[in-house]
């Protein structure tokens, strides 16, 4: 059987109702069928509209690798800024790591290692790190003057 030309009149159905267009509903004139679920949509969630976030705020514990932020399920994240504020009276050593879900932090994961941050100083990173689901951003304050009085803030965008 050869190809047959279909005219506009042959696919017109003047009695289309909302029910016909409901997700999964099939609309047919006996020759062509349209399933409404075939039309893709992008969910416009509140998070999708306004994605700017404070991703994490922590006060560190000396010599303990602490999670700043974990990427939630079904989300990708771009970290724009990390601030590390030394509220102690001594210089401390700053370490920041990013690793994928399910892995332990090893040497290869560090993006900042052994940075000497003076008293009352703030280290500002603008790393533009892109993280996939479950990835972890963490920090450790180490060295002779390791202190628990360091605040770390991460800012960025979650893409849902």
């Amino acid at each position: 059987m050869g190809l047959q030309q279909i005219t506009g009149n042959e696919i017109v159905n003047s009695s289309v109702t909302a029910a016909d267009l409901a997700p999964g509903a099939a609309l047919s004139n006996g020759q062509l069928s349209v399933v409404s679920s075939a039309v893709g949509v992008i969910a416009d969630s509140a998070g999708g509209r306004l994605p700017y976030k404070i991703l994490g705020q922590i006060q560190t514990t000396a010599n303990v690798l602490t999670t700043i932020y974990t990427v939630p399920a079904a989300t990708n994240t771009m970290i724009s800024t990390i601030t590390i504020c030394n509220q102690s009276p001594n210089t401390v050593s700053v370490n920041v790591a990013a690793n994928v879900s399910g892995s332990a932090v090893t040497t290869k994961n560090f993006i900042v290692s052994g940075y000497a941050l003076g008293a009352a100083e703030t280290l500002v990173l603008e790393p533009r790190i892109s993280l996939n689901v479950g990835s972890i951003l963490s920090a450790n304050i180490t060295g002779a003057n390791a202190s628990s009085n360091i605040s770390i803030n991460a800012f960025g965008v979650e893409i849902i």
Binding site: K53, Q57, T83, C85, T122, E126, N153, V157
Partner: protein
């Protein structure tokens, strides 16, 4: 979803009085592009800046809320903090200083 570029907030706080520079409005997210700290006085001044999410109490900030604490603004100088801060609705950006000579200005974009 309009993007409005604007002066988000400007303050000249009293000494040792935590004062809001900017509060993100409801149903809005904001990108703070820069904060200018201008010392109009004849002596150096120290200052702190906190960022408190709506889920926390901004009147009694916790250590984790500080992005700068005890930083120095030299007399006659302006400190330019030009790193982006991505903030959801209700977030408070506040400042504190040991004198009355500092002017804080925050600039950025509101998305609603």
């Amino acid at each position: 979803m309009p993007n409005i570029h604007k002066i988000l907030g400007q303050i000249n706080p009293s000494a040792n009085t935590q004062t809001n520079v900017y509060v993100v409005p409801a149903s809005t997210a904001s990108l703070v592009n820069s904060i200018h700290v201008d010392n109009l006085g004849a002596a150096n001044a120290s200052y702190s800046i906190i960022v408190v999410p709506s889920t926390d109490n901004s009147t009694t900030p916790l250590p984790r809320h500080f992005i700068l604490r005890g930083s120095i603004a030299p007399t006659g100088d302006t400190v330019l903090l030009d790193f982006p801060l991505t903030l959801p609705a209700g977030t408070v950006v506040a400042a504190n200083t040991n004198g009355a000579s500092l002017a804080f200005s925050a600039f950025g974009v509101e998305v609603s």
